[in-house]
Symmetry: C2
Subunit: 572 residues, 2 copies
């Protein structure tokens, strides 16, 4: 065993080597001479990053996933030129905000060449994602590529196990499906160590910044995905979500993101924290620059019939009828949308409050229905308490084991949660499961009761969906993510939720609300974190939450809103 001093040296050496290897994997010609300070360049998206790209590269990388597959499946664009453009832009993105854990551009190029050859031979695409670059959170296993999940102790291992034969050979179920569908994999994106964090920080890549506003976090735990897609380094990818880890980065980076119902998409063979805790399950889901991109990724994975290969996936294919019914509801002004403006625990900051108003106005102007979403008092807090208990069942043993592998220190954002505590026993786990089920039942009863207030013409039809903030803030300031209740409650209830970007923080519109009376010390603290100068330019997004398994309805609504928001130029 190493002495403490040696251990420290060891983890630092390993982490530095890995960090340099990631940077080193970027071709020389794509290296940036200088990374601007935040004062010099707060927002590195759009015009800033575009300066390092050719016009063709800009065209390709600023086409959304739907647009790309239109070109690649028709032969208008070759898979090779598309992946090259994204490899370049992903390389720039990483240098600007530290969003990648792994690159494997050579393998990607080889795969793209095969796809082009396939198209040339067959005169048709390999699948619905033919030639589409797809980025993956660094929990997915890909042949020839390491998975560290942000742990220094996982470097050179398979999930911390040295000499495991699966190392560099095993592939996650969804990776197999993405290949079969014609997607091109080329990079894996940064996560916070433990995954249990709304920011992205670890001892390898250190801190991933929000590319729209580098004062702020890119969110977490799928933070690398969020930052990369926001910079145009990927048209879409997959993250995971047990407390908000898809929705938070989608929201903070101004993207669309879907947390599906558990069992809708395949988690099989994906590394995880506290794997085997099955009271509140982490789920896999897509993030993309457009609602259509999120839908394309979701539909395509379902078309691969993942239930035939992952025993936890439910046999529900993409339901066109539910999608069509939702469009009809919208067209006939019968969509009913509840609004949860404040969860009773922490108020949203002024920009988030403004976004709620913008979305409400948009829906009202369309002739569809809005009303106040008012589940029973304390039910949301109760769900969150029970949800957090599930994450602490093992008393932190699993993550402590992974930190101990290298002796690396914990990020301050993590440390607070994982104070050593005793494991839960079977009786207390069963009690928590019963209590959570009871809360879900009460929530369902509330949902059904909205038939009285939903404003739909057909009487007795409850709300279709409800809208809520993703977080109290547009994005978290580093080290200040003090409340995740707006996202985690959705995990506790196991409801699907789609994030829709609404607007951006405007220092002149979004002034501090000095009249607001905080409901608690926590609320007061979080309100005090809002500063229009610091926040200016950050994306502001909301989540739309549906009944279990109704992902089709959510995505139809997200596509509609995307179109309406573009028309109204609300999303600037």
């Amino acid at each position: 065993m190493c002495s403490n001093g040696d251990t420290l040296t060891s983890w630092q050496t390993l982490a530095t080597a890995k960090r340099e290897a990631i940077l080193g994997s970027i071709p020389e010609e794509w290296r940036l001479a200088k990374i601007p300070t935040v004062e010099e360049q707060r927002n590195v998206t759009g015009a800033y990053i575009r300066q390092f790209l050719s016009a063709k590269e800009v065209e390709i990388t600023e086409t959304d996933a739907m647009g790309i597959v239109e070109k690649t499946t028709s032969g208008a664009w070759r898979a090779v030129e598309v992946i090259q453009a994204f490899c370049h832009r992903a390389s720039l993105s990483h240098q600007l905000v530290n969003c990648l854990h792994e690159t494997f551009f050579d393998a990607a190029l080889a795969d793209a060449k095969e796809l082009d050859a396939y198209f040339a031979d067959h005169g048709e695409p390999k699948g619905p994602l033919h030639g589409l670059p797809v980025s993956l959170k660094d929990q997915f296993h890909i042949k020839g590529v390491e998975t560290t999940m942000g742990y220094v102790g996982w470097i050179g291992t398979f999930q911390g196990q040295k000499g495991d034969s699966r190392s560099m050979t095993f592939e996650s179920e969804m990776v197999r499906e993405l290949r079969q569908l014609g997607a091109v994999l080329y990079c894996k994106t940064a996560v916070p160590h433990t995954l249990m964090c709304g920011e992205t920080v670890n001892n390898i890549i250190e801190y991933t910044w929000n590319p729209h506003n580098r004062n702020l976090s890119c969110g977490g735990s799928s933070g690398g995905e969020g930052a990369l897609i926001a910079l145009g380094g990927s048209p879409g990818g997959f993250g995971t979500d047990i407390g908000g880890s898809i929705r938070i980065p989608a929201a903070f980076n101004g993207l669309f993101g879907l947390r599906p119902t558990s069992g809708r998409l395949p988690y099989g063979g994906v590394a995880n924290s506290m794997d085997g805790q099955n009271s509140v399950l982490s789920v896999v889901g897509p993030l993309a620059s457009s609602a259509g991109g999120v839908k394309l990724l979701t539909k395509s994975i379902l078309s691969a019939e993942p239930w035939l290969h992952d025993p936890l996936v439910t046999e529900i294919p993409w339901r066109r009828d539910l999608e069509a019914q939702t469009k009809d509801l919208i067209a006939s002004s019968q969509l009913s949308v509840g609004f949860l403006d404040h969860d009773g625990a922490v108020a949203p900051h002024p920009p988030v409050k403004r976004a709620l108003g913008l979305l409400r106005d948009l829906i009202v102007q369309s002739g569809n229905k809005v009303f106040e979403w008012q589940p029973p008092p304390h039910l949301l807090q109760r769900v969150n308490e029970l949800t957090y208990k599930t994450w602490l069942y093992d008393g932190g043993a699993d993550v402590r084991k992974d930190f101990a592998l290298s002796g690396e220190p914990w990020a301050v954002q993590i440390l607070d949660i994982w104070q050593e505590r005793p494991q839960a026993d079977a009786l207390s786990i069963a009690e928590n499961n019963r209590a959570l089920r009871q809360c879900r039942k009460e929530y369902l009863d509330y949902w059904n009761s909205t038939a009285a207030s939903s404003g739909t013409a057909e009487r007795h039809r409850p709300a279709d969906v409800f809208v809520a903030p993703c977080a109290p803030f547009a994005a978290a300031r580093p080290g200040r993510y003090d409340y995740i209740g707006y996202t985690s409650v959705v995990n506790g209830l196991d409801l699907p939720s789609v994030v829709v970007p609404i607007t951006k923080v405007d220092r002149t519109d979004d002034v501090v609300d000095t009249s607001y009376q905080p409901v608690s010390e926590l609320d007061k603290k979080i309100q005090s974190d809002y500063d229009p100068e610091i926040y200016d330019g950050a994306p502001v997004s909301l989540q739309i939450i549906g009944r279990r398994h109704q992902e089709e309805k959510l995505l139809a609504i997200a596509e509609w809103l995307e179109g309406e928001l573009k028309k109204g130029s609300l999303a600037t």
Copy 2:
């Protein structure tokens, strides 16, 4: 507090009073003067019980659920005459084999009158189950009716809680749905205390016998359901299954029974043992005298959209397309059926072996495909080991608490399982969950691999379903249910399974196989339990197991086989 002596007196007094109250609830004119001994009358079904009924009562009670709703939804039969006939026959059944925990004939009659009035007023039925008597296992809560689940300590309480306001007022979710669909509830059926038993025995009704052969058990834990339906005292009802508790009584009593995938049918508000253990979930499902009856009950519950009211139910309505596709497969001789003749641990007795041969011949003769089902060695045993661990997570604390309420003794069948042991902790539960998921994955991989051997014309199509024994024996001899691996493995894998009755034990056809070499001491013990004289006349059934959520496929196959078996007079 009572002294030990007082406690003993107390439980006996309570149990005797409850037992007498059940008998006492049967109208005088329906009492039997004498219950024959098993030597006098082994089989009390069919001709024996018919002697106590009018011709009209026989006609009604020997019509299956599909036939009954044809009559009641068209107005040919009144709900009142139907429920009266079943109340009579259920009363006779209970006296013959101890199959009831509760009767509420007056409430049933009042409900039936309301249904008749509804039909008279509206000229149409209330729902698809209009006027259909439905029996329920004594885990379901019904307004005005007690739920003891076989525990003396639950008498006069709500699930053991004295003074709970839900006592005699609360209704389970499925009960609400059954009423809404037009079903008439009239009795609750016997269970073994703890529910964790393949026989039905408790200190209230004592022992429930197999009505086809009163040397044998009716099975468990939905044993009262099985015995009652076999005697024609109910056309169909609902049980629950965590290790075989629907399939075992269906099999032992010569009935059809469905264990659905978890989350397909609503368990909400149903009493249970070890509630909150969520690694291997107990599921609700129907038993009936016909495959059509099982299908009717399943389809009808799904038509009530239980996912809107029970948060654990998956939104999958009855899929006519899957049912139709299955019929097409059968008609075009492309159905592929694996046969698991021996699970490697315990061999089936000669009658079960004969049933496997009969079913295989039938499928071959139809032109459809059969092949050997050979999952990886030891996988089945591994699944069972992991499944049994989930039942013991709490070290027996939950059931010990319920026994302690009254001080009643444990049935010998239960005692063996529930030796006091420590609770599992969160890490060992998570480990078990991961191991079980891995087994499910390996099983799925095996299933997919059968494309090579399934014999289907379209290459690469794996088996549709596989057939397996429900138990090594046609039915258990009292106190000798020493192996439940054939059913529990299906719970561990969370696959749907339908039981189909195939034949009956014939003392001349089903001789002891003296050449069989047991594979273990347990196998030897179980083989030695077979005695053609004792077993003669017992029903012999098999289960057909499908992929998750494919209940429609299973029921289409069960209906087809039912018709074929009738044609061939295999089911005598």
